[in-house]
Amino acid sequence: MAYFEQPQRILLPVNVGYMALTVVLALLFNLMPWHDLVGVPDMVALVLAFWCVHQPRKMGIGAAWFVGLMMDAGNGALLGQHAFGYAFLAFGAISLHRRILWFSQWQQAAHVLILLLVCQALMLAVGMIAGSPFPGIGYFAGSLVAAALWPIASFVLLLPQRRPDSIDENRPI
C-alpha cells in the first residue's frame, strides 16, 4: 500500500494558533459574496474535516459545532443548520481518522467526499424539513470540488509542521 511505498515525513507538533487561523481563513472564504455560483467549495467543512483527521485530539465536534453556528449567523440561515451538519462531519472524520491516513491522497479524498456529501445531505434535509425548496442537484457540486482540493489542502495545511529538507550527514535520520 501507498503508506509503505512512500517515505513518510516526521512532522513537527502542530500549533493550535495555526489551526485556528486556517479555520478563520476558511470562514472568510465562505463569507465572500459568491451569489448563486454553482460549485463553490465549502472550505470550512474541508478544513474542519482535515484537522479532525490529522489532529482529532485538538479539533473536535464541539469546535466544529461552534464554527457551524458562526456560518449560520453570517449567512442568515436557520440557526443550527450548519452546526448540525458540521457536528456529524467532525464525528465521521474523527471515527475514520485512523483509517483514512493509510491511503494515498486521492483515496483519502474519496473518503472525505463521502463525509462532505453526507454533511451536505443532512443540512439539506434540515432545510427541507424547515420548509425550504430543493435547491437543485448543483448544490452537491461544491462537495466534489472540495474533495478535489484535498491533496492541495493537505500540502498547504501541513506546511508549517514540515522540517527543512537539509540533510545532516552526521545524523542517521
Partner: protein, 304 residues
C-alpha cells in the same frame, strides 16, 4: 473499589456522546429559531462576532468594483451623461404637471377630509451581499439599527418594491426579497383595484398570486402595485407584472405567475422606507366580529 484508567489516557466523553450532545443542542436551537424566534439574542451575538470577518471577506469584491469604476472609459461616461440628460428632460415635463396635480390632490383630499399622506423618511442603503444559503432569498444591506433601520420596514429600488427588512443588527440588516418563499406582499391590480396577496416563488425568482378565484378579473400584463392597507408598504409602489395565468377547472383558484417589477437581483443601491406612524388602533376582537358580521349578508357578486 472501582478501576479507573490513569489520567493521562483520559480523553473526555466518547465521540458518540459528544455528537449526541451537540446535535441535540443544534436541533434545540433550530426549533427555537424556526418556531419561537427565541434564538435572536444568540444570533445577534454571533453576528456581531462574524461582522469583522464579513467586512474583510467583502473587501476584495469592493476593491474590484472600485478599480473597474476607476477605469470606466470616457465613452461610457459620455453615453451615460446623454442618457441622464434625456431622462431629465422627460422628468422635467413630468415635474411641471406634478406641481399642479399635487395642489389639486391636496384640495381634493381637503374636500374629502382625508388624512394627509406624509412622505416617509427614507434611508439609502447598499446591498453588501446575498446569503450563501441556497434555501432563502435574502440580502444584507449596510445600514442597521445604528442608522435607525427597524424590522418590518419596506425596501424599494428605483422601480418598485424589493422586499422587507426582517432582521436588524447594529451595523447591517437582513432584507427578505419579495421572491422568498416565506414572503407575502399585499397588492392590488392597477386596472381594476382587485386586492390580493402575492407570494414569493422561491428559487425561480418569480411570484405567485395565490388564492385568487378562478373567475377573478386578472389578465396577462396586468401591473400589480402595493395596496398599502397593511401600513407597511406605501400604496401604489409597483410590485410585479402578471406573466402567465392558468385556469384549471379542477381547482378553486387560478394559478397566476408574475415577475417582479423591481430588479430584485440586480441593483446595489436601495431605499429603506420608514414605517408609517399614527395609524388608527386595530379594532378589538369583539368589535371586529360585530363589524364583519353584516358582511356575510352581502350578495355573492360584490367581491370587494
Amino acid at each position: 473499589m472501582s478501576y479507573q484508567p490513569p489520567p493521562f489516557f483520559s480523553r473526555g466523553p466518547a465521540p458518540v456522546v459528544r455528537l449526541g450532545f451537540f446535535v441535540s443542542l443544534a436541533v434545540l436551537l433550530m426549533v427555537l429559531d424556526a418556531r419561537f424566534r427565541y434564538a435572536e439574542a444568540v444570533r445577534e451575538t454571533l453576528a456581531l462576532l462574524a461582522y469583522p470577518l464579513q467586512r474583510i471577506a467583502l473587501a476584495p469584491s469592493e476593491l474590484l468594483g472600485g478599480a473597474s469604476g476607476f477605469f470606466t472609459t470616457q465613452v461610457a461616461l459620455k453615453r451615460e451623461n446623454e442618457q441622464l440628460k434625456s431622462k431629465e428632460l422627460v422628468a422635467a415635463s413630468d415635474l411641471l404637471t406634478v406641481e399642479a396635480l399635487r395642489a389639486e390632490n391636496a384640495q381634493l383630499r381637503h374636500v374629502l377630509e382625508a388624512r394627509e399622506r406624509i412622505p416617509r423618511p427614507a434611508t439609502v442603503a447598499e446591498i453588501l451581499y446575498q446569503g450563501r444559503d441556497p434555501f432563502s432569498r435574502r440580502v444584507v444591506i449596510d445600514k442597521g439599527s445604528g442608522q435607525g433601520i427597524e424590522a418590518g420596514q419596506a425596501v424599494i429600488d428605483d422601480v418598485g418594491v424589493i422586499g422587507q427588512v426582517t432582521r436588524v443588527y447594529p451595523w447591517v440588516a437582513e432584507v427578505t426579497l419579495i421572491t422568498d418563499k416565506e414572503q407575502r406582499t399585499p397588492v392590488e391590480v392597477v386596472r381594476n383595484g382587485l386586492r390580493a396577496v402575492i407570494y414569493g416563488g422561491g428559487d425561480k425568482g418569480t411570484l405567485d398570486l395565490s388564492y385568487t378565484a378562478t373567475n377573478a378579473d386578472v389578465q396577462a400584463d396586468d401591473l400589480l402595485v402595493t395596496s398599502g392597507i397593511d401600513g407597511t408598504y406605501p400604496p401604489g409602489l409597483p410590485v410585479a407584472k402578471v406573466t402567465k395565468i392558468e385556469r384549471d377547472a379542477a381547482s378553486y383558484f387560478a394559478k397566476i405567475t408574475c415577475i417582479p417589477a423591481a430588479g430584485t437581483d440586480q441593483n446595489r443601491q436601495v431605499l429603506v422606507l420608514a414605517r408609517e406612524t399614527g395609524l388608527p388602533a386595530r379594532p378589538l376582537e369583539g368589535e371586529a366580529q360585530s363589524v364583519t358580521a353584516p358582511k356575510q349578508k352581502r350578495p355573492k357578486g360584490g367581491k370587494n
